[in-house]
């Protein structure tokens, strides 16, 4: 019996392992984002397709080259750079000059991720780091919104996209206001149906709340996204803005409008849920989500900017190590002892 002459392998238990790996999680996040990206291309045309391609490629290439330059094995196989690139692209205004897109993509990876030590060590969601830098450097370009569903959107790319690096981009005469901008500066409200379906202006991928929620629900069902994060953000936004709406419905927008406008859906479902930059315990996550939700409402209502999701999430990211330090799970069998003593 040759079986009994075999070399036996020794490992320590557990001898079995479930099938979910880091690259599987990351790949599924990309899949969940694809419908959102497809809708963005449908709404903003060829321009959005080029922008998302450039944003994704710039992030993946940056990570690959940075790894090689520092003498490490390339880590693009874990798909996390692809998520960053796609997400980052979806937060940008369509028509943003492509050289800014590429530059921001490099910054997202280099400053937001690589400098901290790569995957797992980033303090902030890298996509938002890239976007924040662009927002600070190019405030006009970052708040100029091309209209959705322009008739010739599949025929040509927007002129502003092809601006030569460091030249002042020339935007088309017709730009659209985002619902939040209209609310803040013109006191105009957009209908909730248009908001939910994404029939409005805004960043490339933030407009279709429905598809974002579907992608989030898919990930949550596979436990690749902690549903408590978006839910606690939504709850905080709804309750906090609802209180003001009840006090003065003409001055303050309704909670429905708050939930479905701007980058809240995309931010709450795909950005705030970055596993690396969010807390680990359930209580910690609820605190983190509520903090982000409250900050979004504060910035939107009282801040100088029409939109506050990005800064609110970055602030939440900054707080999560502190939250994790303070909120630790209560270890089994230690509760009673405390009562007794």
């Amino acid at each position: 019996m040759n079986t009994f002459q075999r070399t036996l392998e020794i490992r320590t238990s557990p001898h079995i392992k479930n099938d979910i790996r880091v690259d599987v999680i990351m790949r599924n996040v990309v899949f969940a984002l694809l419908p959102v990206a497809a809708f963005a291309i449908y709404a903003f045309g060829f321009t959005a397709l080029v922008l998302l391609t450039v944003s994704t490629l710039s992030c993946v290439l940056s990570e690959h080259l940075l790894c090689i330059a520092t003498g490490r094995k390339s880590t693009i196989g874990d798909w996390s750079a692809a998520i960053t690139g796609l997400l980052y692209g979806l937060t940008l205004p369509p028509g943003l000059p492509l050289w800014m897109v590429a530059g921001g993509g490099f910054i997202a990876i280099a400053l937001g991720k690589f400098m901290f030590g790569g995957l797992g060590n980033n303090m902030f969601n890298p996509a938002l780091v890239g976007r924040a830098v662009l927002q600070a450097a190019f405030p006009v370009a970052m708040t100029t919104w091309a209209p959705a569903f322009a008739p010739d959107r599949f025929g040509a790319i927007l002129g502003s996209s092809l601006t030569f690096p460091f030249a002042t981009p020339v935007f088309q005469a017709i730009t659209s206001a985002t619902p939040l901008g209209a609310m803040k500066f013109d006191h105009q409200m957009t209908g909730s149906f248009d908001l939910a379906m994404g029939l409005v202006g805004g960043s490339t991928g933030e407009t279709s709340s429905l598809l974002i929620l579907l992608g989030g629900a898919y990930l949550a069902s596979r436990k690749m996204l902690n549903w408590r994060i978006p839910i606690s953000i939504f709850a905080a936004v709804a309750i906090f803005s609802g209180i003001f709406h009840l006090i003065n419905p003409t001055q303050y927008p309704s909670p429905i409008f708050m939930l479905f406008s701007g980058g809240l859906m995309l931010g709450a479902v795909f950005m705030a849920t970055d596993m690396v930059a969010s807390p680990m315990t359930t209580l910690g996550i609820i605190i983190y989500g509520s903090l982000i939700g409250v900050l979004v409402v504060i910035i939107r209502i009282w801040g100088g900017l029409p939109e506050g999701v990005m800064y609110a999430i970055l602030f939440g990211n900054a707080c999560s190590p502190l939250i994790d330090r303070v909120i630790q799970p209560t270890v089994y069998g230690t509760r009673k002892q405390r009562q007794a003593s």
Partner: protein, 447 residues
């Protein structure tokens, strides 16, 4: 369906590994022949090794005591077959060390009859007499821990017990030993419960079974003796539901204090096969000479539940069931906490609840690449003790072992392996914790 799942008991956290019990759960317990030579380890239990009371060349009969307990935390050994003591010397242990053992060569004609000793009558015996009888029978925890049962049932001065929990959870994948015992040894189980309740002073007994064994639940519920305060409770299928602490939490919502024992929350937990053994042996004053072992896994030809004499060499046992060609790993116990073996020349012991054989196909599923921790918190949500394995893992990597023990409850970890099982980065968390514990213990001993 919904109502039953709502009624089911469980603990918070835990994981759901594939159960893989269907291949053996329907197979009745099948008796093994005697091996040509048997090896009886003198320390197959927690505590002091037993002291041999036979000499080489002596003839013994099946059930005869061949080694005496050495102190209270120790148990005697009984001859698993009638035969000749060939040798008293060293034999390999599961951990690879050489440890003292008795080699027994059974007579070709050795039968199944067992000699009887002094019966212990459940009606007339005092608790201390029952505890003495359990020790004399050589009974240890058959669930795998192999802790002497009489020590566990001896309630310390000043403490009391209100509930006896009979552990029929069997949450390890593949294993079906307890399942078969609950179907085939029902009378022994109830008899064992009588002895155990009397020994501990428990006022009631609760049998806990996972919902994947509905036939066992039904069989036991149907046969509860009318005079016995026993209930059968169904638990959600979840690992590690069978751990004492998880069982107590799920059933009574009590938490055993950190560093304490179940008796601190007035509970004694006893494995169902151990209980059946008490009920089977004590009325006849016999000693334990065989146990039920599930031999299964993709590498085994004739998977099943076998009644195997203690001391049967594993190699002989595996020859009986047949192995496939591409065997790569053999371990004792289930795949979550089982002990991988470097050699097949070890015997089946009292604590051997299962033998699982894996092939190269299963090895291919073990990932090699370790990613950085992405703080996904899967481990935090898996840990039944509510530790933070992610944080502990980072500390272990930085060799901050003392900090792990002092501030992050390292020694509350009972090494169930749920964290390593779920980690998407393949970080060997529980493996780190074992090393950390060993180093902290060593440092403490040195200082």
């Amino acid at each position: 369906m919904l109502t039953t799942s709502l009624k089911m008991k469980t603990f918070p956290h835990g994981v759901h590994p594939p159960e893989r019990k269907e291949e053996t759960s329907g197979k009745a317990i099948h008796r093994f022949p005697f091996a040509p030579v048997m090896i009886i380890h003198l320390s197959q239990h927690t505590g002091a090794p037993s002291r041999p009371i036979v000499r080489e060349g002596q003839e013994v009969v099946r059930g005869q005591k061949i080694a005496e307990a050495e102190g209270f935390v120790s148990v005697p050994m009984h001859a698993p077959a009638s035969g000749i003591i060939k040798k008293i010397g060293l034999a390999p242990s599961t951990l690879g060390k050489m440890i003292p053992a008795i080699y027994l060569q059974p007579f070709p004609a050795s039968g199944q009859e067992v000699i009887e000793g002094t019966p212990c009558d459940v009606e007339t015996a005092t608790p201390d007499e029952i505890i003495k009888a359990i020790q004399d029978a050589g009974i240890v925890g058959l669930g795998g821990a192999a802790f002497p049962t009489h020590v566990k049932l001896k309630i310390p001065e000043g403490k009391w017990v209100d509930s006896l929990i009979i552990n029929g959870i069997e949450c390890e994948p593949y294993l079906t030993t307890d399942h078969r015992v609950m179907l085939e040894q029902i009378d022994d189980i109830y008899m064992g419960i009588r002895y155990t309740m009397k020994a501990t002073g428990a006022k009631r007994a609760i049998i806990g079974i996972e919902s994947n064994k509905p036939d066992a639940v039904e069989a036991l519920r149907k046969t509860i003796p009318p005079d016995l305060p026993v209930t059968v409770e169904v638990f959600k299928v979840k690992y590690p539901q069978g751990a004492e602490k998880m069982l107590i939490k799920g059933l009574l919502n009590r938490e055993v204090p950190s560093g304490g024992l179940p008796v601190d929350v007035h509970v004694v937990v006893s494995n169902v096969a151990t209980t059946a053994e008490i009920g089977r042996l004590l009325p006849h004053g016999r000693g334990i000479q065989e146990r039920v072992v599930t031999i299964t896994g993709p590498g085994v030809e004739k998977k099943g539940n076998y009644l195997i004499p203690i001391g049967t060499p594993l190699r002989y046992a595996l020859e009986q069931v047949g192995l496939r060609d591409n065997v790569s790993r053999v371990f004792l116990g289930g795949p979550m906490m089982g002990q991988a073996l470097a050699s097949l020349d070890i015997p089946i012991n009292k604590g051997t609840s299962g033998v699982v054989v894996f092939t190269e196909n299963e090895d291919a599923r073990i990932p090699e690449k370790i990613y950085p921790c992405i703080r996904c918190a899967y481990c935090v949500d898996a840990c039944p003790i509510f530790l933070n394995p992610s944080r502990l893992g980072i500390l272990a990597k930085n060799e901050q072992y003392d900090l792990m023990a002092e501030e992050f409850h390292l020694f509350d970890c009972f090494e169930c392996g749920a964290c390593s099982y779920v980690c998407p980065s393949n970080i060997p968390l529980v493996q780190y914790f074992r090393i950390a514990k060993a180093i902290v213990r060593e440092r403490k001993a040195a200082s």
